[in-house]
């Protein structure tokens, strides 16, 4: 009795709880990102070498002014963490916008046109999958110098594959439905059909992909920054915070635990929210 | 006929407490007898067969006053003990030969594992037995077929393989759940003839599930008619066809064209309405909404009555009633 029934509609039980947890985490992170300037208790860039590596609140000898302690240059860790949420969210969202534009355009055109054009789109997807993302992103940033814009463009140009795959397959399903034929018979232009008839009908699938991509982009940014070729210092990216604190991790493990947990929880929250959305829309995005 | 091989009394199967698929069915199969269970789709005949074999899906609840194979109570038997009986002394074949064989293994491998499991046979002995049985079910070049995969065989061939596989351990009871429904018409007749021959030659007790009354007339010793999870009439084949008692049975028989008996231009009968979905706690006759003889007492408790030698029915009507089986 295990027929694969795709259930859409309101979520129940623990699925609903998980989705809410995800929504709260994401909401909190977005709030931090938007209002980081007002939320930070200290200037996240202000160094104070007399207050280096102060311990966080749960450890002995902590300083009440610095809840999460300070880093190796005496900068307030909580402030840098909040500022880091802004970097993560900013990069996650902008990278996803860039890759969504590329991937959706390719997928919809390939899925709608079929034939030779579709073959080309498929070939582009295959080629893209064979390129090692982290390595190429590192190489581009390494060769051209690190800046936020370059990082976003590079990751955006590399992460469109899942958008293209999902947009292509869903467009193929929608293309053959009656209302598309009706629009065609009514003399609508091709662009009109793609933009007004097809896109709204595959949007729910794409939203789910977008959540997955934001999470992926955030993880990749952190990894690149950790390797020293992502966000340029002194910007407080969580990955960069981990990299800068690495030397001290054996003596003060909390210096890498705090930004790592933040990163982990945010990505988990986005994934929980994405899973919830997928169940709610009744869509499947697995390849 | 010797002692009963399979005894089922007042069998009930519910799915998740919402659907009562079988509501007190009773079936007895004697040794060496072909017992046909007939009824429309959804009447619970397949579920009855699966319940007998303890193959119900998870979430199904089974209960019975008696459920015995060769005197062995099956009701509280554990899965391990049951698996020692299944495929060994009681075997089953299914409706869908296309999907009932494992696509990843050869015919030979799937056939021999039964004998190796239950009788501890060696690979060579099991292969010999499999080849012999393939020949027996009318497959030419058994040696070749043993090395083939299911997808290389036609539907008819696969069903023959299923039958041969079920016979590997010389079972006493064979449960066949609509074994010909998914096959081409010409193949259907061949498979049916094969089953009838094997049943006679091997002295099998055969519980044959079907919705085809033509099949019943040709092969059955005894027939039970199921409707909405109940056996509404049960009789020796000849008697049932000659003197059906239950309105539903009569309606069913009216739907079958019999050359020479039905006038050339007369319309075939049909039973109006559909089989109702029965929730637990339903009382009275389930057929009453479609029956031409309905009255107030049909909503009450309906007694099971013996109306002749080995002939029972579940209806308030007197055995000698006349009139149409269902509303015209």
């Amino acid at each position: 009795m295990s027929e694969a029934v795709v259930v859409s509609g309101p979520l129940r039980g623990w699925r609903s709880i998980a989705t809410w947890v995800g929504a709260v985490i994401v909401g909190l992170a977005v709030f931090c990102a938007l209002f980081a300037g007002w939320l930070v208790p200290h200037d996240p860039f202000q160094q104070d070498l007399t207050k280096r590596l102060l311990t966080p609140f749960w450890m002995e000898g902590h300083n009440p002014a610095h809840l999460l302690g300070t880093d190796q240059l005496g900068r307030d860790y909580l402030s840098r963490l909040i500022w880091g949420a802004r970097i993560s969210i900013l990069i996650g969202v902008t990278v996803t916008i860039v890759s969504a534009v590329i991937g959706i355009a390719m997928g919809v055109i390939g899925g709608y046109a079929g034939g030779k054009i579709d073959d080309m789109v498929l070939f582009a997807i295959t080629t893209r999958l064979s390129i090692p993302v982290v390595l190429v992103a590192l190489a581009v940033v390494g060769l051209m110098g690190s800046s936020l814009t370059l990082l976003v463009l590079t990751l955006g140009l590399l992460l469109w594959d899942r958008f293209a795959v999902v947009a292509r397959s869903t467009t193929m399903q929608v293309r053959n439905l009656d209302f598309v034929a009706a629009a065609w018979c009514a003399g609508s232009s091709r662009f009109h059909i793609l933009a007004r008839e097809i896109l709204p009908n595959i949007a729910s699938h794409l939203v789910v992909v977008a959540t997955l991509e934001i999470a992926l982009a955030i993880l990749l940014e952190a990894a690149l920054s950790f390797l020293g070729l992502g966000v340029p210092p002194p910007l407080p990216s969580w990955g960069l915070m981990i990299a800068e604190a690495k030397e001290y991790m054996f003596f003060s493990p909390w210096v890498i635990v705090i930004p790592g947990v933040a990163l982990f929880v945010l990505v988990l929250g986005i994934n929980l929210l994405g899973d919830g959305l997928r169940d709610m829309f009744g869509t499947r995005t697995d390849p | 006929m010797s002692a009963a091989l399979l005894e089922v009394e007042n069998l009930r199967v519910e799915f998740g407490g919402r659907i009562a698929a079988v509501r007190g069915a009773s079936v007895t199969v004697a040794r060496g007898e072909t017992h046909c269970l007939v009824g429309e789709s959804g009447c619970g005949k397949s579920v009855t067969a699966l319940a007998v074999m303890s193959l119900l899906a998870r979430g199904a609840r089974r209960s019975a006053d008696r459920l015995a194979f060769d005197g062995i109570d099956l009701r509280d038997m554990g899965e391990t003990a049951m698996s020692r009986l299944r495929g060994h002394r009681m075997a089953m074949i299914f409706q869908e030969p296309m999907t009932s064989l494992n696509p990843a293994y050869t015919v030979g491998s799937q056939m021999t594992e039964v004998l190796r499991r239950h009788k501890g046979a060696t690979r060579a002995a099991a292969t010999d037995r499999a080849a012999e049985l393939l020949g027996r079910v009318g497959i030419t070049a058994p040696g070749l077929r043993l090395g083939q995969f299911p997808h290389q065989l036609s539907g008819g061939l696969r069903q023959r393989v299923m039958i041969a596989m079920a016979l590997m351990c010389d079972p006493e009871l064979l449960v066949a759940d609509e074994p010909t429904t998914a096959l081409d018409v010409t193949v259907q007749a061949q498979i049916l003839r094969l089953l009838a021959t094997l049943q006679r030659d091997l002295g099998l007790g055969l519980l044959l599930i079907t919705h085809d009354l033509g099949v019943v007339a040709r092969v059955a010793h005894r027939v039970s008619v199921m409707y909405a999870g109940e056996v509404v009439e049960s009789a020796p084949t000849a008697e049932l066809f000659a003197a059906p008692r239950h309105p539903y049975t009569r309606g069913l028989l009216d739907c079958v064209p019999v050359p020479g008996k039905v006038a050339r231009n007369a319309p075939l009968g049909s039973i109006p309405g559909v089989v109702p979905r029965i929730a637990p706690g339903f009382a009275g006759c389930a057929f009453r909404d479609r029956c031409g003889q309905v009255n107030a007492s049909c909503a009450g408790i309906i007694p099971r009555r013996t109306v002749g030698a080995g002939h029972a029915m579940l209806c308030r009507l007197e055995p000698g009633w006349t009139g149409a089986g269902a509303t015209p």
């Binding site: 009795m1 295990s2 027929e3 694969a4 070939f123 080629t127 999958l129 064979s130 390129i131 090692p132 982290v134 390595l135 190429v136 590192l138 190489a139 581009v140 390494g142 060769l143 999470a215 993880l219 952190a222 990894a223 950790f226 390797l227 070729l229 990955g239 981990i242 991790m249 054996f250 890498i256 790592g260 990163l263 990505v267 988990l268 994934n271 929980l272 899973d275 697995d286 | 193959l55 899965e79 698996s83 299944r86 495929g87 060994h88 075997a91 299914f94 869908e96 999907t99 009932s100 064989l101 494992n102 696509p103 990843a104 293994y105 594992e113 039964v114 499991r117 995969f149 299923m162 079920a166």
Partner: protein
């Protein structure tokens, strides 16, 4: 089947050719290579000398075909920094990366297959939910951070495993675990879905009707069919792992191809970078082809079709 393979091969060659071109373009993005190679303190004469020595004074098109022609013969030129043949450098480092990838894959399968089977057999119970939760956690885990945490816990506090380096097989365990984490969610979900589908199939009902033991039903009949897509995806995952090993190799200072690429990026050593990109891409393409073949071998329905 043969025609299918031939078509896959043609696509693979085209993909490799595209990546070859992209790898070349990639290194020209930064502007004048000669200036970067010569270093910040070089005079105009130094730069001119470098330009001539490395053939950078020729037209770009000539440079491109020169690099393509040599790359096809396995000659990726000479490393600016290591002063050695790039092919030799990569060949020297490749065993480390491949060992790491295989270790990761074995660990990933050893975790995912049992978890996926357990979740499918106990569908919709707490065990199923626990397995799905683990997959979700694995998906959200930043691999480099997990690596550091393992170094602190398993390496420093428990002292079970060496913290970094390439000395013995034990050096591969921790990086292998971290690398496996990236593949576990996908492999577990695929195993679970495949097993649920298999367990609901008619042939499993037949296997039960034959009175086979529970182990035989689960492992021989259900898992065999559920494993076909898993094995194929595992080969593709290995490709992703090799591509992603750059992060883990630099965390654990494992001197593999990824580490080589990372060092080379830092030192503007373009020939090495473009060669590593190309080699990893070709390996990935080869692995996906291998996955298709494996699929055909494991699934009798595709064999000889």
């Amino acid at each position: 089947m043969l025609r299918f393979l031939l078509r896959r091969l043609i696509v693979a060659v085209l993909v490799a050719a595209t990546v070859l071109t992209l790898a070349f373009v990639l290194t020209r993005l930064s502007g004048d290579l000669a200036i970067s190679i010569a270093g910040p303190n070089a005079t105009q004469q130094d730069v001119d000398a470098v330009r001539k020595a490395y053939g950078l004074d020729r037209p770009v098109v000539i440079q491109f075909f020169d690099w393509v022609g040599r790359a096809l013969l396995g000659d990726f030129g000479e490393s600016y920094f290591f002063k050695a043949r790039v092919a030799a450098l990569i060949g020297e480092r490749m065993p480390v990366t491949v060992s790491l990838g295989l270790t990761g894959l074995v660990i990933a399968l050893a975790i995912s297959l049992p978890m996926g089977v357990l979740a499918a057999v106990r569908e919709n119970t707490w065990a199923d939910r626990a397995v799905q939760a683990v997959a979700l956690l694995g998906q959200a885990m930043p691999s480099f951070w997990l690596g550091l945490i393992l170094m602190i816990t398993l390496g420093l506090h428990l002292g079970w495993l060496p913290i970094s380096g390439t000395g013995s097989w034990e050096h591969y365990v921790m990086p292998g675990i971290v690398l496996a984490f990236s593949a576990v969610p996908a492999l577990t979900r695929l195993t679970r879905a495949g097993m649920i589908q298999a367990l609901g199939s008619d042939y499993i009902r037949t296997a039960r009707a034959k009175g086979l033991s529970r182990a035989s039903i689960l492992l021989k009949h259900a898992l065999r069919n559920a494993a076909i897509p898993v094995v194929a995806i595992a080969a593709v995952q290995l490709g992703f792992m090799l591509g992603g090993s750059i992060v883990i190799e630099s965390v654990f200072a494992l001197h593999g191809v990824g580490f080589l690429a990372w060092e080379s990026i830092g030192k503007n050593d373009f020939p090495v970078v473009q060669a590593v990109v190309l080699v990893l891409a070709v390996i990935y393409v080869a692995l996906t082809m291998f996955a298709d073949i494996l699929n055909a071998v494991l699934d009798p329905r595709l064999r000889g079709a």
